[in-house]
Amino acid sequence: MVAFSISEKPIDAHALGASLADAYAGASVTFEGWVRNHNEGRAVTRLDYQAYAPLALVEGERIVAEASARFPIVIARCVHRTGTLLIGDLAVWVGVSAAHRGAAFDAARFIIDEVKLRVPIWKNEHYADGESGWLYPDNTPVATDASR
């Protein structure tokens, strides 16, 4: 099973969570990133995600490998959606199992933080007023670049 994948179809969080099971593991931590209905004070109706898949898969695998090297964990996985997502949809899932909870929490946090910073995936927010815009990693709009 690959550690990092991209999916055009809905993520099955239940099945992914079960895939973390291991007799050596005493803890699992999972993170779900959901599409919310607001950002930077604006009402959001949906998101479109694009990925440069060949490089995203390589960089995602690298991040999970880094997590495995830094923290004493057993299994770590991450799945990111592409395509059009609506409010409440699961956009990204991270799961880690470990002998103890500390490493599982730390590794899950590390993976989602690095994925947001490094993996070539982009979200376009569609707003209730009909406008849309691409975002920076900190969720501020690219469109206002000239004024930054």
Binding site: G33, Y49, Q50, A51, Y52, P54, L55, V58, H80, A91, V92, I112, V115, K116, L117, R118, V119, P120, I121, W122, K123, N124, W134, L135, Y136, P137, N139, V142, A143, D145, A146
Partner: protein, 79 residues
């Protein structure tokens, strides 16, 4: 030389396409971006982007070769 260019996010919107085959004599990735920025009116400066050649991150002074696939990566926003 012949190059294949892929576009994502705001660059895709501004270029009006997700890919194109071009003929260029640009020395390196930096020169190629300058050429395409002028052609398509890209708003992002090179300093905001990273570049990938043939599926791997590359340096801006990387020498381009015939048949390369070049991707200019806008600031990412996954998660």
């Amino acid at each position: 030389m012949n190059l294949q260019i892929l576009y994502f996010a705001s660059l895709r919107d501004q270029a009006g396409r997700d890919a194109e085959a071009i003929v260029s004599s640009a020395q390196d990735a930096s020169g190629l971006y300058a050429e395409l920025k002028t052609r398509h009116g890209f708003s992002l400066d090179q300093g905001k982007l990273r570049v990938a050649i043939n599926g791997g991150f590359a340096e801006w002074n990387a020498i381009l070769r015939d048949g390369d696939e070049v991707v200019f990566l806008p600031p990412v926003s996954g998660g």
